[in-house]
């Protein structure tokens, strides 16, 4: 039995969509969300990441640190959003990854969630699709408890997390901790 086998009632978390998913974002771009860990495309996206969009030191700013960080994330469940028909000046010549989300098993029955959307693709509905699809992949993988930390000033992110069921469990410091059962 996995968590998605539960009968639906008001107490049950929703069954989130599984990858792959396709959608059109608010800018009319065709976006695909797929499971997997395309390292080269992720490195390209993170190298081009706007420092203003960094959160709690992530993504790291230099290529060697990005690689080391991705070594950790590679162990988790990863989903990536792609622009199906990217502009010619995309940061990657081959495939244009525009968002990435990961669930990392913490070894204590919980998983930590993180999500990043490239600055050119933010506020277009991609983050919402991406996090739902990641949670769907997590449900398929037997994960049932997810948590994250978020800067208390990052209202966009906190609203996104609330929209998929996260509740604040610790609001004492600069970062808030949020968690949800899936």
């Amino acid at each position: 039995m996995t968590s998605n086998d539960r009968t639906a009632d008001a107490e049950s978390p929703p069954r989130f969509p599984r990858p792959p998913q396709s959608c059109t974002d608010r800018e009319g771009r065709s976006i695909e969300i797929r499971a997997g860990f395309p390292r080269a495309a992720l490195v390209s996206m993170y190298l081009d990441f706007d420092p203003e969009s960094r959160a709690q030191g992530l993504p790291p700013a230099t290529e060697d640190r990005i690689e080391n960080w991705l070594d950790v994330l590679e162990e988790g469940i990863n989903v990536v959003a792609w622009d199906v028909d990217p502009p010619a000046d995309c940061w990657d010549d081959d495939d244009c990854a525009v968002g990435h989300a990961c669930l990392l098993d913490c070894g204590d029955g919980t998983s930590e969630l993180t999500i990043f959307v490239h600055q050119d693709y933010q506020l277009a509905g991609i983050g919402s699709r991406l996090i739902r699809t990641l949670l769907g992949a997590g449900q398929a993988g037997g994960i049932d408890h997810v948590w994250l930390t978020v800067e208390r000033s990052n209202h966009v992110a906190m609203n996104l997390y609330r929209s998929v069921g996260f509740e604040t469990t610790s609001a004492a410091g600069i970062e808030h901790e949020m968690e949800t059962d899936i």
């Binding site: 959160a55 709690q56 030191g57 992530l58 790291p60 960080w69 950790v72 994330l73 990961c102 990392l104 913490c106 930590e112 993180t114 930390t149 004492a172 410091g173 600069i174 970062e175």
Partner: protein
């Protein structure tokens, strides 16, 4: 320069301690280690003080080790200001498994309340 290192959990502060000592050697800083009464600590304050003194035993820089009782943040800020220190050093190495930087309650309190310059060691 007179530097005070705020030390909560020993293991988390070794790097900050080492860097402060390294700097003291070249800059001729005077270093004090304030051992804080961190409530989550499994060992009593006196044990941590002894451990710090043992660790510093072989170091060629003279370092004063002082236990600070009371709530760590206010105790450290008061100690630094009353002792007319030039700089407070804190370890800030805590990260989530995913690698997100975390700022402890102690660090936040010291950053917001200290009139003395604060260095966070990562």
């Amino acid at each position: 320069m007179d530097v005070v290192v705020g030390l909560g959990v020993f293991e988390e502060s070794v790097q900050a301690l080492d860097r402060t000592i390294e700097r003291a050697r070249t800059a001729d800083d005077s270093v004090t280690v304030a051992v804080l009464d961190v409530p989550t600590r499994e060992q009593p304050l006196s044990t941590v003080v002894r451990r710090v003194r043992e660790y510093l035993g072989d170091v060629d820089v003279p370092i004063d080790v002082r236990p600070l009782e009371g709530t760590p943040g206010p105790a450290l800020v008061t100690f630094a200001e009353e002792g007319a220190f030039d700089q407070v050093v804190l370890a800030n190495t805590k990260r989530t498994p995913m690698g997100k930087i975390q700022v402890s309650e102690l660090t936040e309190f010291v950053l917001l309340n200290s009139q003395v310059t604060v260095i966070l060691v990562r």
